[in-house]
């Protein structure tokens, strides 16, 4: 079983698009659901942390996989 409910591929997108797409995707999800995001923008590492701190969503984990940045965010 996958450890997320939805996935967003933000590869190739640059600031602020990964954040804007994530916000939009989270908007269509239920509270408690988990969104997995894949991004290539190195700035997104700090940005998703800041996004979660300010929006109350939980950043479950953030890491690198095959040269890409992967995040899991749980909707508040």
């Amino acid at each position: 079983m996958a450890d997320f409910d939805q996935e967003l591929d933000a590869s190739g997108l640059n600031c602020p698009l990964p954040i804007l797409r994530a916000k939009k995707t989270l908007g269509g999800m239920e509270s408690g659901q988990v969104l997995r995001i894949v991004a290539t923008d190195p700035g997104s590492v700090k940005d998703f942390e800041a996004f979660c701190n300010q929006t109350g969503n939980t950043l479950l984990d953030s890491g690198e996989e095959g040269g890409k940045f992967v995040f899991r965010i749980q909707k508040s």
């Binding site: 190739g12 997108l13 640059n14 600031c15 602020p16 954040i19 923008d41 996004f51 300010q54």
Partner: protein, 168 residues
């Protein structure tokens, strides 16, 4: 209590179109209530036709002049073109603008039209300065829908209660 961001957008070039739209769309995504007041050359950012947005390397020593195509070694060259050549070659600005747009696309950076739409989708409120609309001979039909028209007092009504107020 919802935080508020007020921005005054005064520049009408392709490069300076980015800061207001990036900050406004991001703040909206973070839950801010956002208003952008477009005045003077900033009015170019809310026109239906965005083709007037250009980038000028002339008199802008901070702008790297690099090619968006070709092998890496070629792309890394910074073309140091003297001001007097930039000023005298017809179409130099259009060429620089075309190259900049290609660089923007290559880097996965959104276009201004795209960022503007994202702002509107996120309920960022746009206000155009009525005085400069008239001063520059524009009519309301030159501008996108969803724009409000007002003056300095309209801006202060929101800006006076804002948490962040930026002049771009």
């Amino acid at each position: 209590m919802t935080k508020k961001l007020a921005i005054i957008a005064t520049k009408g070039t392709l490069d300076w179109a980015y800061p207001p739209y990036i900050l406004a769309s991001t703040a909206a995504a973070l839950g801010y209530d956002v208003q952008v007041f477009f005045t003077f050359y900033g009015l170019q950012l809310v026109r239906k036709d965005l083709s007037a947005l250009k980038v000028s390397p002339l008199g802008n020593p901070g702008m790297p002049m690099k090619m968006p195509f070709g092998p890496k070694g070629f792309r890394d060259i910074n073309w140091n073109i003297p001001n007097f050549i930039q000023a005298n070659v017809p179409g130099f600005e259009s060429l620089a603008t075309a190259l900049m747009k290609q660089t923007i696309a290559n880097n996965g950076v959104a276009s201004i039209g795209e960022l503007r739409e994202l702002c509107q989708e996120a309920d960022v409120k746009f206000i155009a300065c009525q005085m400069t609309v008239e001063l520059f001979g524009f009519s309301h039909s030159d501008f996108i829908d969803g724009l409000e028209y007002g003056g300095a007092a309209t801006f202060f009504e929101f800006a006076g209660e804002s948490d962040i107020c930026l002049y771009v």
